[in-house]
């Protein structure tokens, strides 16, 4: 098992190198002088020369890539053009918010989607089944930003139950420890902050989680149906096990493999969806950051963000692969 994980980690190296090449070429392809691109339009000639010197911009392109990459490995992603803050700091201050949002969305998706899929499979061709599958079909065809707007309108504007944007109410004192607001509020026993941060989290998480929820529901259903037709399920029913035990103890466990695959695959969708959801709900996360950086042509920030996104994505895919072997020991570590 450890050997397998090590092997997979080693396989990541060329992929991540490729990702850095794409990120690096982004600065190169972007119109204009890279030094000017890094510093923005208002840079003086002296600053430009300094940057040229520092990044070796007069060197051949491969040397430039080497210099840039060694900086990236040491955590130097440069400075933002607009705020002149270190890109690493900008990213790390936004990062926990995005993770919080995606985790909340994933929990929503897995709980609701999984349960809906199981119910729908155990009552195949019932009205419940048709309703769940109908909703799921709409769910996978829905643009996440539209759903976000509709939720915001219904629960935020018309009913007024939940806030329509932001991360936390401004007037609530909040002490930052880990950056994960829900976690921080619990650590510091800050009840108002906890309530407020969770209230702000609900709508974006539901909006973001709905598409994965629909996919999980569909896959759980079809996978459950396949398992329920197998011989061992018939044996269990024949030996008098209750339907509950058959489904929840035996069938669900065996139906998990495709579901885990879909959850893993959906993580990428969730990251992409986070970009849109964060824009709709003015959520101060990485997705919002990358969009703002693109608007302002803040290339160092864009490059930093896409590197982080790609690395998270690749690692999640790896975790998915490892989880397979855990859930289904029949899959060999190759």
């Amino acid at each position: 098992m450890i050997l397998y994980i090590t092997k997979r980690l080693l396989q990541l190296i060329p992929v991540i190198l490729g990702v850095t090449i794409i990120a690096f070429s982004l600065i190169q392809i972007a119109p204009g002088d890279p030094a000017r691109t890094m510093l923005g339009q208002h840079a003086t000639q002296k600053e430009i020369n300094e940057i040229r010197d520092r990044y070796g911009l007069d060197e051949p392109i491969i040397v430039q890539y080497g210099i840039w990459l060694s900086g990236v490995i040491r955590g130097d992603l440069g400075r933002s053009i607009i705020t002149n803050d270190l890109v690493v700091n900008e990213i790390s201050s936004r990062f926990p918010n995005t993770i919080e949002l995606t985790i909340a969305a994933m929990i929503f998706a897995i709980l609701i989607g999984g349960v809906a899929g199981i119910i729908s499979a155990s009552k195949q061709y019932s009205i419940t089944d048709y309703t769940v599958m109908g909703v799921a079909l709409f769910g996978i065809s829905m643009p996440v930003f539209w759903l976000g707007i509709i939720l915001m309108m219904v629960f935020g504007v018309i009913l007024g139950w939940l806030p329509i944007g932001g991360r936390i109410d401004l007037f609530i004192p909040y002490q930052r420890i880990t950056g994960f607001m829900v976690l921080d509020s619990i650590i510091t026993f800050n009840l108002p902050a906890l309530v407020s941060s969770i209230k702000h989290l609900i709508l974006p998480a539901v909006a973001l989680g709905t598409i994965p929820m629909a996919m999980i529901a569909r896959v759980t259903r079809s996978s459950m149906l396949e398992v329920l037709r197998q011989d061992f399920i018939r044996t269990e029913r024949a030996k008098g096990l209750s339907e509950r035990a058959v489904i929840y103890k035996h069938a669900v466990r065996n139906a998990m493999v495709p579901v885990v695959t879909v959850i893993g695959l959906n993580f990428g969708l969730l990251l992409a969806g986070a970009i849109l959801t964060e824009t709709v709900f003015s959520w101060p996360g990485l997705g919002r950051l990358v969009v703002e950086a693109v608007y302002e042509r803040d290339y160092p920030l864009v490059v930093g963000c896409i590197l982080i996104f790609a690395i998270i994505f690749v690692i999640v895919n790896l975790i998915t692969d490892i989880l397979y072997t855990y859930i289904d020991p029949r899959i060999k570590y190759e």
């Binding site: 992929v15 794409i22 982004l26 309108m153 969708l269 849109l276 693109v294 690749v314």
Partner: protein, 322 residues
């Protein structure tokens, strides 16, 4: 009233036609008579109700796109703008805007007309983006699958790298680099989707390559070019059609997302995503219609293509069924 009688008659004619060719039920096919391949496929397709529903949705949108000039009740971009009509509700309200069934947006433009014209944009974005993705992906997939060895390794590592970005993010980045606009959004989405097509194509080519007829072609000394164009490509068409349809659904969603972020279609283009984005700030003041209906149009297009794609997969490529 006359119009509905005409519609009814047309449907009756279609019904009679379908019955005549026993297209409704598989049971009716007489095993003695020979059925052509196309006839069989059409029959199996029509038997799949959700696929037919998907096709119908898409045909309605295509019809809307082609005849937008005749269907749309108003100009999508009237000049000068009718600002005095801004944010008027539609048919559900007694004081709704006259002749504008779905209300007006903040610049007083008819929402329905803009949605009708938007079908043109979304469908063409879907077609062009998937066209680019197919051209790139099929080339990569065929080269990798057919020649194998180092060609395969290099091309597929490249595909893996593009796969390590979430698709929309990469599209945003490409647009950020080459510039904003509808045409560039299409190119970006095409590039981002090509790896998926490449993987599917490679798998299909690997399968076909082992077939006896390819071996026979090699034995009689056919050139690689001839084998690829005359035998491999025609035989791997069905996964391309199936995944092309499904990818088109995602392409339309992602194009709308880019439009929503202001990186795709630029105002005043009546693009669904951009329409949503422009009017979302007015829902706080109660004008929900301008942001709601374009989203429903997107759902129809995506739903239609998804259903159609699933149906095509069932009839064309049963191996792929999950």
């Amino acid at each position: 009233m006359n119009r509905w009688i005409w519609v009814k008659k047309t449907f009756k004619k279609i019904h009679i036609y379908l019955k005549k060719f026993s297209l409704y039920r598989i049971k009716h096919v007489d095993s003695g008579s020979r059925e052509t391949k196309t006839h069989e496929l059409v029959r199996r397709f029509l038997y799949n109700k959700s696929a037919v529903f998907g096709l119908a949705l898409i045909l309605i949108l295509v019809f809307m796109a082609i005849f937008a000039d005749f269907i749309a009740p108003n100009e999508p971009n009237p000049s000068p703008p009718e600002l005095e009509n801004s944010l008027q509700p539609g048919f559900w309200d007694e004081n709704g805007a006259e002749g504008k069934p779905l209300g007006t947006d903040m610049l007083g433009r008819c929402v329905l007309s803009r949605i009708v014209y938007g079908a043109r944009i979304s469908l063409s974005v879907g077609f062009v983006a998937v066209g680019i993705a197919t051209a790139l992906g099929v080339t990569i997939g065929v080269l990798a699958g057919y020649f194998g060895r180092w060609v395969d390794s290099i091309l597929m590592r490249g595909v893996d790298i593009i796969f390590s970005f979430p698709a929309l993010l990469l599209a945003i980045v490409i647009v950020a680099t080459i510039g904003q606009g509808l045409d560039k959004a299409m190119i970006a989405i095409g590039i981002v989707y090509s790896p998926q097509m490449a993987r599917i194509m490679r798998g299909s080519v690997l399968y076909i390559k082992e077939m006896e007829y390819i071996e026979a072609q090699k034995a009689i000394g056919s050139s690689n070019t001839r084998i690829i164009f005359r035998h491999v490509l025609p035989n791997s068409l069905s996964p391309v059609i199936v995944y092309g349809t499904l990818l088109m659904a995602s392409a339309i969603l992602d194009a709308a997302a880019l439009g929503f972020l202001g990186l795709g279609a630029q105002p005043p283009t009546p693009e669904w995503g951009a329409m949503l984005s422009e009017s979302r700030f007015y829902i706080v003041s109660g004008a929900w219609w301008a942001a709601t209906f374009p989203g429903i149009a997107i759902i129809f297009a995506v739903l239609g293509l998804n259903l159609l794609g699933d149906g095509l997969r069932d009839i064309l490529d049963p191996r792929l069924k999950t």
